[in-house]
Symmetry: C4
Subunit: 436 residues, 4 copies
Amino acid sequence: MSKAADSILKHLKVQRQKQRAILKMRWRCAQGGFEFEQLDTFYRAIRPYLCVAQFFGIMPLSNLLSRNPQDVKFKVRSISLGVTGLFLLLGGIKTLVGANVIFNAGLNAKNMVGLVFLIVGIINWLNFVGFARSWSHIMLPWSSLDILMLFPPYKRCKRSLRSRVNLVVITVFCFAIGDHVLYYASGYRSYSMHIKQCQTNHSRITFEHYFEKEFSDIMFLLPYNMFSVCYGFWLNGSFTFLWNFTDIFIVITSIGLAQRFQQFADRVLALEGRHVPDALWYDIRRDHIRLCELTSLVDDSMSNIVFVSCANNVYVICNQALAIFTKLRTPINYVYFWYSLIFLLARTSLVFMTASKIHDTSLLPLKSLYLVPNGHWTQEVQRFANQLTSEFVGLSGYRLYYLTRKSLFGMLATLVTYELMLLQMDAKSPKDLRCT
Amino acid sequence: MSKAADSILKHLKVQRQKQRAILKMRWRCAQGGFEFEQLDTFYRAIRPYLCVAQFFGIMPLSNLLSRNPQDVKFKVRSISLGVTGLFLLLGGIKTLVGANVIFNAGLNAKNMVGLVFLIVGIINWLNFVGFARSWSHIMLPWSSLDILMLFPPYKRCKRSLRSRVNLVVITVFCFAIGDHVLYYASGYRSYSMHIKQCQTNHSRITFEHYFEKEFSDIMFLLPYNMFSVCYGFWLNGSFTFLWNFTDIFIVITSIGLAQRFQQFADRVLALEGRHVPDALWYDIRRDHIRLCELTSLVDDSMSNIVFVSCANNVYVICNQALAIFTKLRTPINYVYFWYSLIFLLARTSLVFMTASKIHDTSLLPLKSLYLVPNGHWTQEVQRFANQLTSEFVGLSGYRLYYLTRKSLFGMLATLVTYELMLLQMDAKSPKDLRCT
Amino acid sequence: MSKAADSILKHLKVQRQKQRAILKMRWRCAQGGFEFEQLDTFYRAIRPYLCVAQFFGIMPLSNLLSRNPQDVKFKVRSISLGVTGLFLLLGGIKTLVGANVIFNAGLNAKNMVGLVFLIVGIINWLNFVGFARSWSHIMLPWSSLDILMLFPPYKRCKRSLRSRVNLVVITVFCFAIGDHVLYYASGYRSYSMHIKQCQTNHSRITFEHYFEKEFSDIMFLLPYNMFSVCYGFWLNGSFTFLWNFTDIFIVITSIGLAQRFQQFADRVLALEGRHVPDALWYDIRRDHIRLCELTSLVDDSMSNIVFVSCANNVYVICNQALAIFTKLRTPINYVYFWYSLIFLLARTSLVFMTASKIHDTSLLPLKSLYLVPNGHWTQEVQRFANQLTSEFVGLSGYRLYYLTRKSLFGMLATLVTYELMLLQMDAKSPKDLRCT
Amino acid sequence: MSKAADSILKHLKVQRQKQRAILKMRWRCAQGGFEFEQLDTFYRAIRPYLCVAQFFGIMPLSNLLSRNPQDVKFKVRSISLGVTGLFLLLGGIKTLVGANVIFNAGLNAKNMVGLVFLIVGIINWLNFVGFARSWSHIMLPWSSLDILMLFPPYKRCKRSLRSRVNLVVITVFCFAIGDHVLYYASGYRSYSMHIKQCQTNHSRITFEHYFEKEFSDIMFLLPYNMFSVCYGFWLNGSFTFLWNFTDIFIVITSIGLAQRFQQFADRVLALEGRHVPDALWYDIRRDHIRLCELTSLVDDSMSNIVFVSCANNVYVICNQALAIFTKLRTPINYVYFWYSLIFLLARTSLVFMTASKIHDTSLLPLKSLYLVPNGHWTQEVQRFANQLTSEFVGLSGYRLYYLTRKSLFGMLATLVTYELMLLQMDAKSPKDLRCT
């Protein structure tokens, strides 16, 4: 008997020691020391991309090199904000020049595309400044939740958050670079074919003349030289980077949140078939509330980014679809057109699918609750079950719509209906290649 | 011991005195005396705008200057109703003349706009007469609820209802006046450009001729002189005022209801973490039922106003969108076109967003209920939680649709789809400025 | 003491006598005697209209003159079915002749309308034969429920079912007759105007020639004389009657069901604030299940009628809307066009609104349940509350859609979107009156 | 007394013997012996069709002739996969040749149809290979569930699963063969009429020339002879078979799942009015969870098949609808056009209706639960009721949409809206038969 008592005492002691060790570790992590740096936190996963974004003036935060998220703040007097200001200025000039040209020529469906692209870029820069301002309000609770959920009783996921994020981001950016390169290649090819077919002066088929046409809004203010061409490439590239970054940013955030909900579901799953005291259910329920509150906080701050991103993607896809039956001039045009359309559709679907994962994983614990045996089904479990189903958890565009599979389907269905109409109109009207 | 008993007795006495004071105050307020006037009631917030509306024959109520809402009633023999009758008569004549002209020329999409504007105006006047008839049935329970919720245990909101309403109304009306002025400016500019381009007799570019064309339905019956021009301005202005007032009225009502639901949510929030007896939960639940019944009562009486307002707004926006790719003649036309389209979109969104706030705030107490500790979770709380989620609380158009963010999104999505179709058609058909 | 006991005994005796009297009365009613005839049953309300329908071969039931619903059955060898067969034969010939003409000329959007009208008529006749076959399976439970709910504890409604039904039916039929008369008037006017404008031989403007054109499918087989014209009028009238009857039938059924749910809600409301034993709640719940089962039974049998009716109405409305901007020839054409469009919209809305009332009234008891005091809130009440919200109660078209306000709004929204497209197309294309 | 005890003992003994016999039988069945073969399992119902599918390289499984589902596996080195590979190769060549021709001529709405048909075929073959790989993971739990539910306490359905499946499949395939034959008949007739009207050289109206045109993509690589014509017929037929098989496969699976849910509902219904111990409710609830898990497993594996099938059907229907007002040349064209359109609509509706039956039958036990008497309503029953309503049970296309009646209605409504637009356009534009 004394032996059994001994072993129990030992066991309790070991457990207490473990818990104390975990608490100590958490405390050290919360101090933001080296231990924190080692953790697979969301901050660690997103930091490299935020650093890259600084070079394009996106999300102006200072002290990004610090490993402690508490140091990272939005400061009015900082280099980052200066860079953002520069981009806003240069982008603004480009936009104004473009708008001027278009309004003089008469706004129409075709020339509007370029202008909308620029305006959306400017809005995105401003939205990210807004998000940067609320950065510290979001990152502090998120980091503390990360610290909480990276130690037992929560288990770490097999694949770290960091590697998941890296995989997705690098894949998307490779395709995005391909898209950008093809854009210039296809543009130059179109230009040279156009000259060949419609003009007699074939000497105009040079890179110089192409750049003059491509960057006409810049050449409007600057003389043509090596510098202004580079400047044109750089500004165009920045807008394109921003466009891709917006979607990528939503995807990263969604992965970060979904991973935590997954861990939460795993913990509940691990309790299956075991006797769980009410106090533990209460702890679990409290953690769930914290997770939901974090998601809701992120949703509030990101709503404008999500809204603009989705609206813009839908607009560009529809615009591309407009040209689906146009007879294009050269194979490279075909390749660019289809590559770009499919890339866009895939990226938009990626945004919706990863974001919808937050909601899907948030519902997973429900299945485990079904299997709670009858004797252990208390009011606390009942409340937890109700809580799980009563609210929508996930990202939204101003709560006008939620990023779910259903919304994605609605969007696709609308696109298909639209395309069907084009099919119909195409079947009735003749097509030709005009020299305009 | 006696000391402790003493202090408890004192405390109880003070509390009883407080309660008695509150009851007394409430009683005095219910008498509609000077005390009531000081309260931040809905009646006090909306009264100034109702007074202004009397001058345009909208919502004919008598005794509006009284500070007691019980005195304000709909009377058949009153000056207000006379004014309304005058507007209905003059507006009716204008509408009939307009309808006659249009049916002779053949009804089409373009000339229909003006006629619909007039008919909707007439319907709105009649709807407001109907609302005025049920005014006292709504205002009495509302005022008593106001009296209930402007004293403890309810806390007043930081910003008073009156200041909120004033801010919104004045902002909207300033923009509305700008819209109205731009309408005439753009109209005159269009007219003069049209004469210049299509006619040789440039002497017709005078204000006189412009007014003759603008108010052609009035000049049809009256000779041209200063008076008839003023009359034209005044009647046009009244219709425009009515149009704006309809939306504003929905917004004010929504703010009024949402504020009460907010106070209610704040009270439930204040109970977080405290032991709450069942009797108190029952009181809270009863207050919630009263709030919901008031909302339902208001919804029933306002359904026709909401329905006509939304239908008309959507129609006008679609009609504007029709002209989005028309090449306009002058900068002032562009400014008016975009100003008016954005103003309309913003006003419609404002209606939906404020109205959707009623529902959103009505759901807020749910989050507090999640945090009720396990021991205090009784059947009464359970029923309260069920009650909160079981019904839709808010304004609707005959319950065919509800004013929510989701509906707004549906409307916007339809508009965008429609606009996309225009994009497509625009890309296929040539445009020109015709002299018709 | 003995006095009190006496009075209690007396009271109990009186009550028992009352209950026995009610049971006796119910029994006598169930025998279908004179007492049943006096009751405000659904059978009594619909019988006159079924009798009228027999003359048009709709819903072939025998023994309709009997006052006992048990006698009314579908018989294969009956005069009613013979009449139906005659109509199917004559209507079928008309349809085949019409189809032949149209397929020879080439099917298009315009000439399809008439053919669809005929085909839908034939389908409706067959659907009503199908409904007649399941008539006795529906009417028996319905009548027994009627007997149950026309005695205490249920209270009768103020306005009897019969008077409600009569009011609606007579109103609709008056408008329908107006519509039918205007159809011929407008048709003749169009015909004469067409001859005047496009042909030199004005002698053709006679009734004779008009009838020859109007009933061309009949004149294809029969020689022109008084009889064949009357036959043409009669057959056309029958199809039109059937079309109106289909909608009217759905409306009557909906009113009948909604009235019972209203009585049920009134009974639950009467229990507000009283102590209700569980046994009584169980009785109430069982009655609710019976009501829901009846509704579900009716829905199953009527689904095809509802589906065809809605589909056809939407189709005809859209077709009318197609012509909304066509410049019509004469005022009578305008009057007919708008009268017929508005009548159709109103009738369709009436169908949806009355049918949606079934669901709305089925939810009414929920509000009474909120006010059940805490002590009396038992599991039985909880189950009743759950039951009320868990299922949809009402009519549907094969459960593909339900007749609710929301569906009506969806339909209207689609119509409006469609109309907007027409607006757009109309604004782009010229219109003219062709002599074809 | 001893007699009664005796009879009870006997009764218990008999019951125990029965249970043991059932367990023994189940065990033997699970071994996959002759007994298993006799059971009305899903595997037995679908096997003949899988065998037929092998000849077309669909769903490459080995050992399909074995009566034990455990032997049927996906093997990389098998004849079945070889056949599939052959079809993919030949189909791929056909597709590439077709794509080459079309891209050279310029992609448009009309010639896209054929290409999409081929590409969808290739995707379907690949999807079925994917499904075959997860076949054993699905069939094992399904077979064990079948064994469980084909013995008491579950009752067998009146009509066996096998006969139901056979009836549906044979009906659909007969119509499909009719469709295929009419396709060639109509094609040949169109071809000969085209030659007659547009060319002088009428000697070209031979089968030989028709086949050369019909199988132009094959004649592109092979010389014209008997063999290549047969090859053309065979490859075309395979693609058509695959297209029909995809839908049929979804239908069979749905029938199989719905039947089990029906049996489950019947079992719960049989308990109505009896005292049911909590342990039995728990068993029932566990069976329900198993059924739901199986459905969810099937849904996950079939999502891509469902998605491609629905998308393709909708696309083809819309494309057919495009031609609804085209004046066709001969009666056989009309017959083929309408036959094929109605067949397609009916097949698509069949897919949706049978699949929606899974969800409908899964909700049936709810009605039985309403009738559980008050005393027997325990927490276990409450949880069962909650479980029934909390989740969607059924097939879906990547959970973007679910196969329900509502989705079918949404699809039909979109089609109708689309058709309405065509109506409108048709009414405005002239039609003619061109010789192109």
